[in-house]
Amino acid sequence: MKYAYFPGCSLKGTGKAYEESLLPVMKHLGVEMQELDDWNCCGATAYMAVDEGKACAAAARNLAIAEKSGLQQVLAPCSACYLVLNKTQHYLHEYPGMRQTVARALETVGLRCEGTSAVRHPLDILLNDIGLEAVKQKVTRPLKGLKVAPYYGCQIVRPYATFDDQTNPTTMDRLLEALGATVVKWPLKTKCCGGSLTGTLPEAGLRLSYILLKEAIKRGADVIATVCPLCQFNLDAYHPKISARWEPVPIPTVYFSQLMGLAFGLPDNQVVLHRGMIPMKPLAAPAPAAAAAR
Amino acid sequence: MSKPKVAFYWCASCGGCEETVVDLAEDILGVVEKVDIVLWPVAMDFKYKDVAALPDKSIFATLLNGAIRMSEQEELAVLLRRKSQYLIAYGACAQLGGIPALANQFSREQVLKFNYEDCPALANEAKTRPQAQFTEAGRTPHLSQLHHVVRTLDQVVDVDFYIPGCPPTPNLTKAAFEALLSGKLPPKGAVLAPDIALCDECERKATKPTDVAFTEFKRPHQGLWDSGKCFLAQGVVCMGPATRSGCGAACTSGNMPCTGCFGPTSRVRDQGAKMLSSLCSNVAAKDVAGIQQALAGIPDPVGTFYRYGLAKSLLRRRVDLPA
């Protein structure tokens, strides 16, 4: 299995831990990810709000490069990238006007976007292409006893329900269970993390982060697992402020891929748990018998 | 008193129809006794100018076989029409276009190119093609030219009667002569054969089940066929149900399926469409894939359903060819 890999800016910056953990995990599962040559900004959600035409053109350039590469599947781990690329794909198919605008823009750089490639999320690929059975077979250190709150955020399920339910997604739940973890009942799976409001309107934005963290602790979670660099950042970076404004809610937030690496027994530098600001408690050592059996 | 004048002529045909006239055997004597033959290129030496010299309508009946494929054939058809009281399309080619009309699937250029350049059995390095005219030693002979379209006789001139078949049977020919000479004629435009499909006289009819459901189709060379059983019951396309009878089921008696040379019954406008309809309706499958699989046994529907009737079909010819 080979996918075109669109990292986007976050995975090279604030969300470095996502890339650092996802790449080895995928490799471990025999998935080949070929980073797109000369990719550019996906346009992100902000650009879409300013100028849809230009935003689509920017995103479509990446799709065009993917088409040119001959790889029909584009793997976009960042939620914002995933949404924007998908949205562009939808616009190209549904609005002839947009198709023209984009075609004209791409023509100037000698590219064409037919809109034929599929934009895929890692969860989608793990569940539907690789399958949980294959994942389970790679688990050498089951996350027994680890209580995880699966946090999907908004962008991978809204507005497009591409591979999971919009209000109650379950793909990550099933993945975490396959890793041996306990998934806590957590009705805030797709609630807002505060998004960019944490920076612009902290009272509103941080409050949303605070609710998520508080509810996760209340429901007995040891850790929050996320799929989105912005969610991870919001839930991880503002503890001092939240603590000052409301109460301390010390719970770590990590990428699901980090938990996978952990369960696969990958080396620490591929699990990169040290990148989090709230440290995750070490797992209980595996029972000697179980360890011997491996 | 002089005897009625009769002409035989051939256009684009194989000569088989002429054989039928000969196949009348001793009966031909009876015919010859009652008529004067004024034109019969295959057997006797007359010149066109002799015909041209005849007064209009002075020939009692002309039996013309072959499709109209060349300019010369058309010219003669027009001439003979003018000279004849009755013009009879004799045989499948004159009636329906016949085998020559299968060329209506190709353009004139394709036909010429294949026959004078690409045909594997050909030695024509100069790629010489027939010319309409050329000058040699100060003389300029004109040659007949290939038309773009192969036509039935009635697509060129008015036709009074049709005698079907590839070739027509001696019996039908004899009966037609008798009718002509006795004056007991059906209405103009009639086909001088029974107006009922071939199954009526096919001995295999009784073996066709009433619940046929096709799962596959076979072509005659793809198997050995039960010589007593309906071909359709064996999955072999037999045009009998869509073809006029009158041949005495000659092909099925010889263990070959009917290929449709007698053309459709009078009620049908397009023989191929009707045969297609009948066969397909009785395919067993209900899903597109299953249907396509069953019908894959008919790889060339045009050649199968319009083997003789393409020129006379509703579309006449492949539609995207030049005129």
Binding site: - | M1, S2, K3, P4, K5, A53, L54, P55, K57, S58, F60, S71, E74, E75, V78, Q85, Q105, H147, H148, V149, Q155, V156, L180, L181, G183, K184, L185, P186, P187, K188, V268, R269, D270, G272, A273, K274, L276, S277, C280, S281, V283, A285, K286, I291, Q292, L295, I298, D300, P301, V302, F305, S313, L314, L315, R316, R318, V319, D320, L321, A323
Partner: protein, 178 residues
């Protein structure tokens, strides 16, 4: 004033589903291209492939057949029979040089007025892009070679002078048409 060319579609709709759906489209005041002319039959199974070829030969640029959805035929299975004919006819028409988009089979239930609209509009658009099939015009064009020849022969004969008419006319037996 010459009107710009627009395609002509002859439609054969079954009485129970598609014709009723077209009535529903009317009752719902849906708007669609006026290029289609509907002929009502009781069942899509009645659609004789001759009708389709005849329509094309007489100047239709496309033929649309509408029947009940598979399993819903008012006459149990008439629509399957049409589907089977359609599958081979489509292939045969390609051999005749006719684009497959020109003949279309659609399952439209009595409730799908909206589908009548979309299918007709879509087909009109497709045919517009394909351009006219124009069989009657083609027939005329094909037969021009006959006229050219006739003119040439006439000219030649005229040059050669009148036909000698010395031969006696053939005796004609009395004709009784039976």
């Amino acid at each position: 004033m010459t009107k710009p060319w627009t395609p002509r579609i002859v439609a054969f709709f079954c009485n129970w589903c598609t014709y009723t759906a077209a009535d529903l489209a009317g009752v719902s005041r849906l708007k669609y291209a006026s290029n289609v002319r509907v002929i009502r039959l009781m069942c899509s199974g009645r659609v004789d492939p001759q009708f389709i070829l005849d329509a094309l030969a007489r100047g239709a640029d496309g033929v649309l057949i509408g029947g009940c959805h598979p399993g819903d035929c008012h006459y149990v299975e008439g629509n399957y029979k049409m589907l089977r004919r359609f599958e081979l006819l489509k292939r045969m028409l390609v051999d005749f040089g006719i684009e497959p988009q020109r003949v279309r089979l659609e399952w439209i239930s009595a409730a799908e007025g909206e589908k009548v609209k979309t299918v007709i509009n879509e087909m009109t658009q497709q045919l517009q892009a394909l351009g006219p099939l124009g069989m009657p015009q083609k027939f005329t064009a094909w037969d021009q070679e006959l006229e050219h020849l006739a003119q040439a022969v006439q000219a030649r004969d005229a040059a050669a002078g009148p036909c000698p008419t010395h031969a006696a006319p053939s005796p004609t037996p009395e004709v009784v048409h039976v």
